[in-house]
């Protein structure tokens, strides 16, 4: 299966009730793309963490804003591009805390980084910030 073009697009509002839909869709897409069940579950968690951060940080819990998810499959990698039109921050501000200094928050970015190969936050998108997440496929 070789595809360089935009595979799938999912647009929802920034309401937590859509997280489950987003997770299930991501899992299905990852399975279609040939990832193993475990890898698909990892990507399901990654997208949840990324969208939760959009709701919390970018939209400050405003549940009525758009979240646009784009899924691309290339020969060597799977990409997820998460677009929103909320608050932009400096990329350096998207960072996880020290993992061994246990605190209630600050685990989302850590999980995303741990389970993907590239995490790139770009605040300069036309409509708002975008988070680009890349996972290389096994065949690499």
């Amino acid at each position: 299966m070789k595809n360089g073009h935009n595979l799938i697009k999912l647009e929802v509002r920034s309401h937590p009730r859509y997280l489950r839909l987003i997770r299930n869709a991501t899992y299905d897409i990852a399975m279609i793309c040939g990832f193993t069940e475990d890898e698909a579950k990892d990507l399901r968690l990654v997208i949840d963490e990324a969208c939760t951060n959009v709701i919390k940080h970018s939209y400050q819990y405003d549940y009525s804003k758009p979240i646009i998810l784009n899924f691309f499959l290339y020969d060597d990698r799977f990409e997820m591009l998460i677009e929103d039109c909320g608050m932009k921050v400096r990329p350096s501000q998207i960072r996880s805390r020290e993992i061994d200094n246990v605190k209630p928050g600050g685990l989302g970015v850590y999980i995303i980084k741990k389970l993907t190969d590239i995490m790139e936050y770009d605040p300069t998108g036309k409509d708002g910030p975008r988070l680009r997440l890349v996972k290389y496929t096994k065949k690499r």
């Binding site: 579950k41 993992i99 685990l107």
Partner: protein, 111 residues
């Protein structure tokens, strides 16, 4: 998310049923808050029917554990499914919490 609870031998058991993410953490937090307000020292959370958890759920457990620590209480976890256990391992929280295979064991460990 469905939450059930009961008291057994002075231990407050919270049984969660459903996926844990920010659509359910407020509900769970409310349940914990009541017990913390009453300074309950022994809480067991049964996660056998939780197929999924994200960092907002982990954060809630850490928060609750730390609140309880202030008055000498402890939160213990039981029945983690494989997928949920993996998220605890990924974030190295398996050492932070006392984790038991069965709810029963977790309750007995408080004796």
């Amino acid at each position: 998310m469905e939450i059930n609870s009961r008291e057994e031998n002075g231990v407050n058991v919270i049984i969660l049923d459903g996926e844990v993410d920010i659509s359910s953490t407020d509900l769970i937090r409310g349940k914990f808050k009541k017990l913390i307000d009453e300074k309950k020292k022994k809480i067991v959370v049964d996660l056998a029917n939780v197929p999924y958890i994200d960092s907002s759920g982990l954060g809630l457990f850490v928060e609750t554990m730390q609140e309880m620590g202030k008055y000498g209480g402890e939160l213990k976890l039981a029945g983690l499914t494989d997928d949920v256990k993996k998220v605890f391992e990924l974030t190295r929280l398996t050492n932070f919490f006392s984790i038991f295979a069965e709810e029963k064991e977790a309750i007995e460990s408080f004796k």
